[in-house]
Symmetry: C2
Amino acid sequence: MPVKYNAIIIRFGSEIGTKSPRVKVRYEKSICDYIRRLLEHHSVSFEKLEYTYGRAYLFTNETSEASELLTRVFGISSFSPAISTTSDIDQIADVCVSLAKEEFIPNATFAVRCRRVGTHPYTSLDVNRIVGERILSSLKDLNLKVDLENPMYTMGIEIREDKAFIFLETIEGPGGFPIGSQGRVVCLISGGIDSPVAAWLMMRRGCIPVFLHFDLGDFGDKRTRDKVTRLVRKLSEWMFNTPLRVYIVPHGENLQEIKDKCMDNLTCVLCKRVMYRVAERIAEMEGAVAIVTGEAIGEQASQTLHNLAVIEEATKGVPVIRPLVTFEKVETERLARRIGTYEISAEEEKGCAAAPKRPSTRARMGVVLKEEQKLDIERMVEIALERAEKFEIKYGNGDN
Amino acid sequence: MPVKYNAIIIRFGSEIGTKSPRVKVRYEKSICDYIRRLLEHHSVSFEKLEYTYGRAYLFTNETSEASELLTRVFGISSFSPAISTTSDIDQIADVCVSLAKEEFIPNATFAVRCRRVGTHPYTSLDVNRIVGERILSSLKDLNLKVDLENPMYTMGIEIREDKAFIFLETIEGPGGFPIGSQGRVVCLISGGIDSPVAAWLMMRRGCIPVFLHFDLGDFGDKRTRDKVTRLVRKLSEWMFNTPLRVYIVPHGENLQEIKDKCMDNLTCVLCKRVMYRVAERIAEMEGAVAIVTGEAIGEQASQTLHNLAVIEEATKGVPVIRPLVTFEKVETERLARRIGTYEISAEEEKGCAAAPKRPSTRARMGVVLKEEQKLDIERMVEIALERAEKFEIKYGNGDN
C-alpha cells in the first residue's frame, strides 16, 4: 500500500489554552476562518477543515502547499502532515507499517505514541503495543528497534472518534494570538533589520500595525523608501486580507533645523524626540494604543537606557513598547531570516548622514529641554503631519 | 601522545565589536577581570588569562570546571576548550591526529578550519591541507572522509604568533554586555516564571537590578517571600561580587483598601498602578533609570495592551521596560530553565486571592482616575515605602 498524505493536524498556541473556554473557542475558530480564506486565496484545494476544541483537522491532498502557508498563521503552535484513515486498529497498523517502510532507514530506532478521544475497543497503550509489534514483524529486514526514550522516529497516532491520523513530523508554527485580537499600534519602521522584527513580534501577539517611516531627505538614502515598502509587503504576508496602513513622513527639513540650531552631540536624541511626538499624534489619529520601536539597549551609542528614558519623555499619553529591548543582535537577525525580512533589510544603504561622530550617551533632560526651546517643535510636528503621505498595502484578494 | 585540554579560547560578544575600539577594549578587559575573580573565588587554578583584541586565552588544566563558570559570564559569545601547543606545523598536526584518534567515530566526516594571526612559514590554507592529510593518513583504519560543507567534526585551529590552539567544540555563552555597563533598574519580582527572566535579560544587557517585591499579605502565599529570596540568589550567580538590593514592600493593606472601595473588575489595574508608583519612588531613591516588569501582551486577562497603557499612565518620569512584552510563554519558560530560575518559580503557590473573576480587559482611563479618587494614594505609597524592608544578596567573597 503506497502512503499518501491527505490531512494536516493543526494545534493551536498553548497560551490560547489559558484563556476562558469561551474566548479560546472564539480565538480558535477565527484562526480556522483565516486558514480557510488563505487556502482559498492560494487555490489550495481542501475537502474540509474540521474544528474541535484545541485542534483542527485539515483534509487536503495538497499537504505540502498547505504546510507552506500554515507556517505563517499566527495562533498555530505546531502542525503535522498526516495520513487519515478509520479508527479500525488493523487499518491503523497497515498505514503505520507502510509509512515506516517508506521512511525508516535500516537499523533505526522508533517509538509509537497514540493519543485517543472517543470510545474504542482498545486503549492508547494497546495501540502503541500492537502497532509497534506489527512494524517490527513486518519489516524484519530493516532491523528496527523500539526506543521509548530517544527514538530516531516517533510514529504519532491521533484517534478521534471514528477517524485516525498518522504522522511522523511536527512542524513548528509561529504561535501567538489571532490577528487583531489586541489593539492597533504605530510601528516605526526604518530600512534596517530591527524595526520589521519588532513589528512582526507585535503582530504575532495580535496587534494590527500602522507603519510610520521618516524620510530623512538629504540625510538619508533614496533607496530606503522602496525598501520600506517591500518590507511592509513582506510583513503583510503574515496578515492576509488585512490592509496595512503606511505613513511616510518627511523628516529631512526638521533634521536640518536640529542640526543648524542645536548641540551636535544631542542630534540623535532631539531627532528621536520629534519622531516620537509625530508617532504619538498618528497614534491618536489611528486609535492606536502604543508606539512600537526596534530599539535595543546599548545597540547604538545613542541608545543607552538613560537616553531611551530621555527620548521617551517626549511622549505624554501613549506608551512606547520595545519588543527587542533586550535582544542580542544575533537573535534579531535569526528572527528576521525566519520572517523573511532579512534579505531586504540587509540591502546596502547609506546610514543617516546627520548622526554626529560622538553622540551623547548620557543626555541631560534639562539640557535637552533647553535645546528644544530653540526649535518650534509644534510647527515641526504639524508640518510633518500635513505633508505625510499615506497608503495601504494589502496581501490578499484583489491585490498581490 | 595522550590529549590533554589545557586552555580555553574565549570570544567576546559580537555586539561589543560594534563599539569604538576604545570602548571595546575597556569592555573586554573588564570581562577578563571578572573572569579572573570568578575563577579565583571558585578555586579554579589557572596559569594566566591572556587578553588580545576580541579574544582571550585562558591557560588552565581545569577546563571543565572553568567552562561551567564561563557559561555564566555576560559578554562572552562563545568559548572553546582547547589544546595549546606551539605554532610549529608538525606539533600542530600531531595534536590534531591525537585528538581525532580519541574523538572521531569510524566513517566520520570532518573539516579542518584554521585561523591565523602573525608571521608563519605557512598560510591558513596550507595548515588545513597538511593537517587534513595527516589525519587521513595516520588514521586509515577509521575510514574518515573530508567534508567541507557539512562535516560531523570541525577541527578548529587558532594560531596566534608562536602559539596554537586546537579544539573541536564551541560552547555558546550568554552574550550581552559587561556587568554594570548600563544603568541601574528597578525590577519588579513576584514568585512567578516571568519576572526573574525579565530581570536577567536586563542584567545581560549590562543593567544592575534593584529588586522590588510586593508582599500581598493575606491575599498572597506565605511561601512566596522565601521563593523571591531564592530567585534573587539564583540570579546573583550571574553577577559575582555585585550586591543585589532587594526591597520587600507590604501591599496587603493597600490591596484590601482597593477591594473595599473600588470597582471589582478594576482591582488588577488599580493594584498595578499603586505598584508602579512605589516602583517609581524607589527608582528615584536608587538612581535607577527604568522600571522593569515581566508583563507580556495578552498573557493574563488584565494584561491587554490597552490595560498596559492605562497602568503605565501612573508613572510620570521613569519609563517602564518590558523585556518579555512579545514573548511566547514557551520561550520564557525555555529561558527560565537556562538561567536556573525555572524550578524555583514552578514551585506550587497560591495565586493572588484578590484577583476578580472577570477583570476588565479594557479599563477606561477616566473611570480609573475616578476610582482612584476614593483612595488616598499618596498615603498608600508613603506607608508602603516606610514599612519597606531592605536587604542585599551577594554572590561572592564573604557570602555564599
